[in-house]
């Protein structure tokens, strides 16, 4: 199950990487981004390398630590992109939400809290590395909003997981009853 989820995350990561690379290239050509090509290429290469490493690891199964490691590296790469593209004014801030929603819906409340905690720490580091200057209340509100969305996404995932379990138990009951009916219909020999 976890192996399947991580494999699909690899596919999503390739798609998001291509889209973000295209967006950065487009904005840079229009002169709306002041970021050096080596930084963009380094980030893209790093993401590609990590994705290849994850694919190789997943060939032999999914270790329990992998989901935490992939989430952490995703958030670190997004933070680097945010720093390179304007810090708090970056157009790529939304990418944090892709990681949050993708992981929370797949793994549930525990992962939602993990992503929110990690985001909180890395975004505070981003703010420290590229300080917006003056009052930081807006940034605090951004962090609170992220926590709120994380908790809501985790709650929805919990509900979804519970309903999935209920449907699964119904399916098992139906299968058992069908089997019992078939036994009753069979003529006694």
């Amino acid at each position: 199950m976890e192996q399947q989820i991580e494999r699909s995350k690899i596919v999503v990561r390739w798609i998001v990487a291509v889209l973000l690379f295209a967006a950065v290239t487009y904005l840079k050509r229009r002169g709306e981004l002041d970021v050096a090509w080596p930084s963009i290429l380094l980030l893209t290469a790093l993401l590609a390398l990590l994705n290849l490493i994850y694919s190789a690891i997943l060939r032999g199964g999914a270790p329990s630590w992998l989901k935490y490691a992939t989430t952490a590296t995703d958030l670190a790469l997004i933070s680097a992109l945010v720093v390179f593209t304007g810090g708090t004014r970056s157009a790529f801030y939304f990418a944090y939400f892709i990681v949050l929603i993708s992981n929370s819906f797949r793994y549930g409340m525990g992962m939602a809290l993990y992503v929110a905690t990690l985001y909180n720490l890395v975004y505070a580091s981003v703010l420290f590395a590229a300080p917006p200057g003056g009052d930081l209340t807006v940034e605090a509100v951004k962090i609170f909003a992220f926590w709120g969305i994380a908790l809501y996404a985790g709650y929805l995932a919990m509900r979804f997981q519970r309903q999935t379990r209920i449907v699964q138990s119904y399916e098992e009951t139906i299968a058992r009853l069908r089997h019992e009916v078939a036994q009753l219909k069979r003529p006694a020999s």
Binding site: Y123, L127, F128, L136, A140, W147
Partner: protein, 65 residues
């Protein structure tokens, strides 16, 4: 419930709720006043503290324990 030891007594839940209020005040004070992003590193602990305190208070009010 007879014979079962209370997991969260009234005294403990009051203390936890009071700690939650303190955490919330600190959280809002940092959000409003700070000029250093390093203070944001305390948010996960404070936020989770507030959530745990709120959960304990609600469970106590609903007589869950």
């Amino acid at each position: 419930m007879a014979g079962r030891r209370a997991v969260l007594t009234a005294r403990v839940s009051l203390l936890v709720a009071a700690a939650g209020v303190v955490f919330l005040v600190v959280l809002l004070a940092i959000a409003q006043r700070t000029t250093s992003a390093l203070w944001f590193l305390t948010f996960p602990v404070l936020l989770l503290g507030v959530l745990v305190a709120a959960a304990a208070a609600v469970l106590r009010m609903l007589r869950h324990f």
